[in-house]
């Protein structure tokens, strides 16, 4: 993960602030507008329109799960925690919400720009890892299919190694992943009835 920082398009991006009316909200709004974002602040709840926001800043001191139009940890945008009390229970709650970055209160003259960049980067890499893990899980689940396909091909008088090589060639010829090719071999075998090599199946 040594990629260069990609600076997100912040001009015209929408930030929503979930915090009771307070000097912190004013300082945050001033910084966000100077950077070029459109802002709105909300309390005690985020409206459903928050689903379209590009960034959400949320209070951890008085916050609770019911304030968000999504389940804890499932926010579809980067979330930045506004931390007053550094009590571990509150930090734990902020992390459960999916905080990608934080700002300590009182918010003063700076800190928002770096919080936006860090939160965006953390959010994107979290999402990319999530997609990658889902893909790997799926491939892992399909390992059983590969074992069955290799066994079926091997049953026609090949060694396991030759059978695996054949499966790989099939995948290449069909221009699909080895998992997809294996699924096809297994399916074909099932429809063709398997003839006498069926007894070779585990």
């Amino acid at each position: 993960m040594n990629k260069r920082l990609r600076i997100p398009d912040l001009g015209g991006a929408r930030a929503m602030i979930l915090h009771r009316p307070h000097a912190t909200v004013e300082a945050l709004t001033r910084q966000l507008r100077a950077i070029g974002l459109a802002t709105s602040d909300h309390w005690p709840e985020l409206p459903a329109a928050a689903l379209g926001a590009d960034y959400v800043f949320f209070d951890t001191d008085m916050g609770h799960d019911g304030q968000f139009p999504w389940k804890p940890g499932e926010a579809p945008m980067p979330m930045i925690a506004l931390i007053g009390s550094e009590a571990p229970g509150r930090i734990e709650w902020a992390l459960r919400q999916g905080a990608d970055a934080q700002l300590l209160k009182p918010v003063g003259d700076n800190g928002v720009f770096s919080a936006l960049l860090i939160a965006r980067q953390a959010f994107e890499s979290r999402r990319a890892s999530g997609d990658e893990i889902a893909g790997l899980r799926q491939r892992l689940a399909e390992r059983q299919t590969i074992v069955r396909a290799v066994t079926l091909l091997a049953a026609r008088g090949k060694t396991e190694e030759e059978a695996f090589a054949q499966l790989r060639q099939l995948a290449m010829a069909w221009r699909e992943t080895i998992e997809q090719a294996a699924a096809r071999v297994v399916a074909r075998h099932a429809t063709e009835g398997g003839r006498d090599d069926r007894r070779e199946l585990p």
Binding site: R30, Q31, A34, L37, D109
Partner: protein
């Protein structure tokens, strides 16, 4: 009405020439304001000299705000010193009028940025240079925030334009061993050089590069010029003929019978005059806060964006020809975009047909 005004410029150190230019602009502006019968205020300078030592800025800024009635300070040249004084300004309820170009990505509530940020210097300079010289740039700078960040933005702009970074090298502040820099430029043969070195490093580099241009015409100013966002008239005495051909961007250059000796002098003069015009318009200038001053409608002086506290400025591209700047391109009223988040605040690339160099 008598109003004290803090002056915080270093009178020694590696950026002394810039600092002195700013200081004389401030003092001249104070004199002009005091002589102006239309302005019912008298400015009194409260001056401190950090002597080029970055650790002296914070304490001296506090001293001005604590020991005098001054609420506003004109000062600082480097970004480093500016960042040092901001916490002090917050603590003592003061404000800084900053007269130098800088690398952007800041919008303090306590600072007025009276000189250019990247969409008012670097972006116009490169978009002007690309079609004329090419998009293969060699980037250099002194090892601190100005050079790093300006060159980072330049890298992005070059990549965006489909160009290439031929090389990139930094020198420690004050270092004047430029031989490796020159060797790399000779070897990589870029289309232009972006110079973000400051002080003696810059003087030595420009002298060595001028010598290289005499030896090999591929490095002459009309084929591979040195571009700069902060080199101005105040450094000519240190540069001599090595300044010749250099191309710079800024809000002001001294041409013909212009009233100010240098770009920095002009910027600081404008900053102080803008402050004075606004002080003259508020009920209690002795205690008015910066946001009060920026809110008051006033004719004349710089236009300051109340959201970002940055000045709207003209952008000039100028080349040193025969020992003085000649303006090659000019845009009026460019609104600052300190975070480079507004594409609509980028100047449009000018036509190239009239001055094709290559």
């Amino acid at each position: 009405m008598r109003i004290e005004l803090g002056i915080l410029f270093s009178r020694e150190g590696s950026y002394r020439r810039i600092s002195e230019a700013c200081r004389s602009g401030a003092l001249a502006a104070i004199e002009a304001v005091n002589a102006d019968p239309a302005l019912p205020i008298e400015l009194v300078a409260v001056e401190r000299d950090p002597q080029g030592n970055v650790d002296r800025y914070g304490p001296l800024c506090a001293e001005i705000l604590r020991d005098s009635s001054a609420r506003h300070i004109v000062g600082c040249v480097t970004s480093w010193s500016r960042k040092e004084v901001i916490p002090t300004l917050e603590k003592w309820d003061g404000s800084l009028w900053y007269p130098c170009p800088y690398e952007g990505f800041e919008a303090s509530d306590r600072v007025v940025y009276a000189n250019a940020c990247p969409n008012q210097h670097l972006l116009p300079l490169l978009s002007w240079a690309f079609p004329r010289f090419g998009r293969r740039g060699y980037l250099t700078g002194s090892n601190y925030i100005w050079g790093w960040e300006t060159n980072r933005v330049a890298r992005d702009l070059i990549a965006e334009a489909g160009g290439e970074v031929a090389g990139e090298r930094y020198l420690p502040l004050g270092d004047d061993d430029v031989s490796r820099l020159i060797d790399e430029i000779r070897a990589t043969r870029p289309d232009f050089i972006l110079n973000n070195l400051i002080g003696p490093s810059s003087y030595r580099f420009l002298a060595a590069y001028t010598a290289l241009g005499i030896e090999d015409a591929s490095f002459s100013p009309d084929r591979c010029p040195v571009l700069s966002c902060n080199l101005t008239e105040c450094e000519f005495p240190a540069l001599g003929s090595a300044a010749e051909g250099m191309i710079a961007a800024g809000p002001y250059f001294q041409t013909g019978a212009a009233p100010y000796g240098s770009s920095f002098e002009a910027a600081t003069h404008d900053a102080v005059r803008t402050l004075a015009l606004r002080l003259a318009c508020v009920e209690d200038p002795g205690t008015a806060s910066l946001s009060d001053l920026l809110r008051v409608p006033v004719r004349g002086g710089l236009t300051i964006d109340p959201g970002t506290h940055h000045a709207t400025l003209p952008v000039l591209i100028a080349q040193v020809q025969g020992g003085a700047f000649r303006v090659l391109e000019r845009w009026e009223d460019v609104v600052a975009d300190p975070y480079l988040s507004h594409r609509d605040r980028r100047v449009a690339a000018p036509p190239t047909s009239l001055s094709v160099v290559k």
